[in-house]
Symmetry: C2
Subunit: 342 residues, 2 copies
DNA sequence: CTGTTAGCGCTTTCAA
DNA sequence: TTGAAAGCGCTAACAG
């Protein structure tokens, strides 16, 4: 990049500017910069002159104009409840990676579990012309009907499988892994496990709840479920505080999310000065700090990369192939067991 | 939204389609849907007819076409090292929130600390016509020269203040808060503090290092710095493992990031079966799980919302006002002290 | 009060 | 092997 005589840095050029500067037509320039010089048998010297100019001045193709013409934006939209939530942050990062690798960009938006905001986010992204949309929906599938024009953009749901959803949906094996987790916890403490559960109305959580109940039934122990509407650290703290008011510390607790777990453990540590070493906890999602805790921890680690991979594949299949992939996709979580001087 | 006789759902309409269907011109329709009916004194009946049609069929304005014409995209780009890193995830969420509130969308990209990828991310976003760009750069400011055309897009740096950067830069008060953190740690253990430091070449980390050294000097204790090139959990684990090979556990450790801390604590817990209760640790950034640990923890909590707010304000000032704000912006971190049966 | 027109920068088709 | 022209859906300026 050179600096012109006036000392100004002209900045990258548009196709038209390059055409004007080099004296060739826009078409010729475009063939060269699009790497189609061979195919159109552009004269070597012409090509060299154009390439030299581009190398010198830079080039920025206006994707906005291109999109308008081609009806393709090479952009994918993502709507999640909260970008700062570690699970969704990982999912976002994994999706962004796949977008980048395929020359696309990712547009992100948070719904904060608010149906209205989710709706506005979705329309906003559609207005921006995204080719595909990945949503972790807080509304049932019906809300997404009639939003699209002629099947565009492609639509894939993640994390939450509403019953009878017409859209391809990629989720973790919530019920099965909750079952495994609960069974193992019961096995360890040889007794009941209390489930601290946020947002039981969400499909993913409902599945975990079902897995928990099934495992309790199979093991012949009584289920004990404490629920709250907000998946927040403070809600978890309030839940265990209320529980402690009615009796001693449970032997084993299971949490529907890391958020819950943080609230529960924080409150317990606060009450008892430290987390009792014989407490056994189970949770969904993992965090490295869990391994520094002096207690036995089992966690179901969701496969964010796997979910992103599948969701992205579904999206591309719809976009490129026009075909709608299978509706249900389940990505397995992994149960990891750590610690426990037990 | 009605469903037509054929049972097809027609989907939202463009301005032209609405104009054709209602028999008015595009301009008239646009005035109505843009809420400028009053201003242009559109006849009440005309307005009612158009609004009824829109209510019935839906409307989606093509932002792509609008952008091409107005040379404004109402989009902001964000480039960070890693979207999954909790600090950047929070920053992203906070920025997205401000974008949404002002009718903009956020485009995200990760650089993975790779200069080349950062470059491609930035050009990619510029090609998409973003009005503004927020970057947590892994390259010195010179790399960003000559990328823009006529001062667009607006550019703001966050998290990393390279010396003599010509761009507005918003960072935490790394040096000052590292100084306070170190001083307090020394005060508690009445002795030296060992600093486990990742990526000392980054400006933000260099500042923390400087604050640490200054506090050690003032207190008259010897600084002890262990560095690594990657800010990863595993790197922290390796660092403390190497350190433990040469002697006993330090009385106080300080970490340049949560990632380092997780590695250090994980390894210590692994070695000693549990984290010794008399270990005192200091770190940057906070996590709720820290409060469940049986040790004394001091952490400098960065103000992601504050950083996002300042960065966004700088951006808007450049975009709307054309004026370049002041270059240096420092957002204060808060030192929080927790636990410590000590 | 409403309509017409001329582009934004690109891709696409056709022509030379 | 290169060029010219049309048009994507919108906005903005002007004309009635």
């Amino acid at each position: 990049m050179t600096i012109d005589d006036a000392g100004r840095r002209p900045g990258p050029k548009t196709l038209a500017e390059i055409a004007a500067a080099t004296g060739f037509s826009r078409t010729t320039v475009r063939f060269v910069v699009a790497g189609e010089a061979e195919r159109h048998r552009i004269k070597a010297e012409t090509r060299a002159r154009i390439e030299a100019y581009v190398a010198d001045h830079g080039l920025v193709v206006d994707h906005t104009a291109r999109s308008l013409r081609t009806r393709r934006s090479e952009a994918i939209g993502l709507v999640v409840p909260d970008l700062a939530n570690p699970f969704f942050a990982r999912l976002t990062a994994e999706l962004e990676e796949r977008c980048r690798a395929s020359g696309r960009v990712l547009l992100t938006a948070s719904s904060h579990e608010d149906p209205e905001r989710e709706g506005r986010a979705v329309t906003g992204l559609i207005e921006r012309g995204v080719d595909g949309l990945v949503v972790a929906p807080c509304r049932p599938p019906a809300a997404f009907r009639g939003l699209r024009r002629e099947g565009r953009p492609a639509l894939v749901m993640v994390d939450r499988a509403y019953p009878a959803s017409p859209w391809p949906t990629v989720v973790s094996d919530n019920e099965a892994s909750a079952f495994r987790l609960t069974r193992r916890l019961i096995e360890i403490v040889r007794g009941p496990v209390e489930f601290f559960c946020a947002c039981p109305a969400l499909p993913s959580i409902a599945a975990r709840l079902a897995g928990y109940r099934a495992a309790a039934r199979v093991a012949g122990v009584a289920p004990a479920v404490l629920t709250t509407d907000r998946d927040e650290v403070e809600a978890g703290a309030r839940l265990i505080a209320a529980r402690l008011a009615t009796g001693g510390l449970p032997r084993a607790v299971m949490c529907s999310s890391l958020m819950m777990l943080e609230g529960v453990l924080g409150e317990v540590a606060h009450r008892f000065k430290r987390v009792p070493a014989d407490l056994v906890v189970g949770t969904f999602d993992h965090h490295p700090l869990l391994e520094a805790l002096p207690i036995r921890i089992l966690s179901v680690r969701q496969d964010e990369a796997g979910i992103a991979e599948r969701a992205f594949a579904c999206l591309i299949a719809q976009i490129d192939g026009g075909r709608r992939e299978a509706i249900g996709h389940v990505v397995e979580g992994r149960l990891v067991e750590r610690g426990g001087a037990a």
